[in-house]
């Protein structure tokens, strides 16, 4: 009885510590923001949009920010410099030997040519933005995790898994046996398995990094439309290029329906190939961005009401949403991988039901 009580107390203590860590930045931020609020009014939508979108510097906390390299393909060739000037210089302008650029709403324009209607010329921007930074980080992290796991497989052979191996092995087996194998098909799954495993862990780990509330996490990479666009385009390409004759026949000349209906079905089916990928893109984007927006909106309430009481009330809600987002991170990776496997499976299916 006493041990149960002690256990309950310990759990309560742990919960309190977690709550403190979640609430602390909010409370500190609310304390520091009250000083600034004299000259500028806090706008939650601006703050949220700033967080959701990509930026050219990595905000760490307070006035501390990490400048990131800007890589531009301009009319005069490649131009590389650090982004710090965009945020500290007057007019947000940086001048280099090859030209001068201005940052407006996180988009880089040629300075001088910029007009207010937004139709001015832009150099091609390949900068290491906050999202690219996060992407490279996740690249290194994922490569490190799985190559080190692979090395322990090589070293330990078929012995029982140990350490990190035993955490990831069930997930790898789950992806193989529950997602890829039943959807792609027993015969052809092996060819697509490496891609789909990478896809699953790439989305999942990037979702998780996005949930870390402090540097170097917290960037909304997997909730960025460019990220989801790339992954769904790859799904689309893989599906179209691995499709067999039966798949194309089902699109352009649907068997088993009257001939006039076939003419109507062909454009619909053709559109369907694109809309599947489009749905993938929007689903991941909306889920991850939505999660970030909910958490930030809750946190914004503290700034709007400027009250510690609100902070205390909101913190458990933020905790709840954060835990929910941890689930969403895995679920969205699962759904994306599942649907990609399903589409591949439909494209490579043996045409044996006629």
């Amino acid at each position: 009885m006493t041990s149960l009580f002690a256990k309950g107390r310990k759990t309560f203590k742990n919960l309190a510590v977690i709550l403190f860590f979640i609430a602390a930045p909010v409370l500190i931020a609310s304390a520091s923001s009250s000083e600034e609020s004299a000259d500028e009014k806090f706008s939650p939508s601006e703050m949220i949009m700033h967080h959701i979108q990509d930026t050219h510097e990595f905000h760490i906390g307070g006035k501390l920010a990490m400048p990131l390299p800007v890589i531009l393909w301009t009319e005069h060739g490649l131009d590389v410099f650090m982004s710090g000037g965009f945020y500290h210089n007057e007019d947000n302008t940086i001048t280099t030997s090859k030209g001068s650029y201005v940052l407006q709403h996180e988009k880089i324009y040629y300075a001088g040519e910029h007009s207010e209607d937004g139709h001015s010329a832009r150099p091609l921007d390949f900068s290491i933005t906050r999202n690219v930074f996060s992407l490279l980080l996740s690249f290194a992290f994922i490569a490190w995790i799985f190559i080190s796991i692979a090395n322990s497989y090589k070293k330990r052979g078929t012995a029982a898994p140990k350490g990190m191996q035993s955490f990831f092995e069930p997930i790898i087996i789950y992806v193989r046996d529950e997602i890829v194998k039943p959807n792609v098909g027993e015969k052809k799954y092996a060819k697509y398995l490496p891609y789909l495993l990478t896809l699953f862990f790439f989305i999942w780990i990037n979702n998780m990094i996005g949930l870390v509330p402090f540097f170097p996490g917290g960037s909304n990479l997997s909730g960025n439309i460019a990220f989801t666009f790339t992954l769904s385009i790859l799904t689309f390409l893989i599906v179209q290029f691995s499709a067999n004759k039966g798949y194309w026949k089902h699109i352009f000349w649907m068997p088993g329906v009257p001939i006039p209906v076939r003419f109507i079905l062909a454009p619909i089916e053709l559109l369907g190939t694109v809309s599947k990928a489009f749905a993938l893109m929007i689903r991941l984007f909306a889920n991850i961005s939505g999660g970030h927006i909910v958490v930030l909106s809750l946190a914004s309430m503290v700034f709007m009401f400027k009250s510690y009481v609100v902070g205390g009330v909101v913190a458990p809600f933020i905790l709840f949403i954060m835990v929910l987002e941890l689930m969403v991170a895995a679920i969205q990776a699962y759904v994306f991988t599942l649907l990609t496997s399903l589409f591949i499976g439909m494209a490579v299916a043996e045409d044996d039901h006629h």
């Binding site: 959701i52 921007d125 992407l135 994922i142 799985f146 190559i147 398995l193 990478t198 460019a226």
Partner: protein, 164 residues
């Protein structure tokens, strides 16, 4: 609408990073991991099959043992039966032998008794003959004195020696 327009830079970077990751992991991670998993699963499968086979063999062995045991039991019973038969046969023989011997001994004894009897009778006969001779002698002596005395003597002798 800024949110919904993919940024070219990030698209390019994501493509590069993701495709490199696919390549790297396929080559250095998934290949050894999946291979090892497959080998392990196969070895577990084989071990299970071998265990099943061993169990079947054990079952067969057990059945064989049972059969052997039954056979051994039957043999034992047969042996016991044979042995008891032999024993009773020996007993029977011994009995008949004993009977034969007893009979012969009895016959011998009877013959012995008969012989003793014959010899005893012969002795009695000879004694009777001797006595008769003695009596006759005495009668003859008395007869020499007087007739009366001879007669008394004969009577006396006859009274003394009564045959039994």
């Amino acid at each position: 609408m800024n949110l919904l327009t993919p940024d070219l830079g990030l698209v390019v970077w994501t493509s590069i990073a993701f495709l490199m990751l696919v390549f790297l992991l396929s080559k250095f991670a998934w290949k050894p991991i999946l291979q090892t998993l497959k080998i392990r699963e196969e070895s577990i499968d084989e071990a299970l099959k071998a265990a099943e086979l061993a169990r079947e063999e054990m079952g067969e062995l057990k059945a064989d043992n049972e059969k052997l045991l039954v056979k051994a039991r039957e043999e034992r019973e047969q042996l016991l039966r044979d042995a008891s038969k032999a024993a009773s046969m020996i007993k029977e023989e011994a009995k008949t032998d004993a009977e034969v011997i007893t009979k012969r001994m009895m016959e011998d004894a009877k013959a012995g008794i008969e012989a003793e009897k014959q010899s005893a009778l012969a002795e009695v006969r000879s004694q009777v003959a001797n006595l008769s001779v003695e009596i006759a002698e005495k009668i003859i002596r008395k007869n020499l004195e007087n007739d009366k005395a001879q007669k008394a003597l004969v009577d006396e002798f006859l009274n003394d020696k009564s045959f039994n």
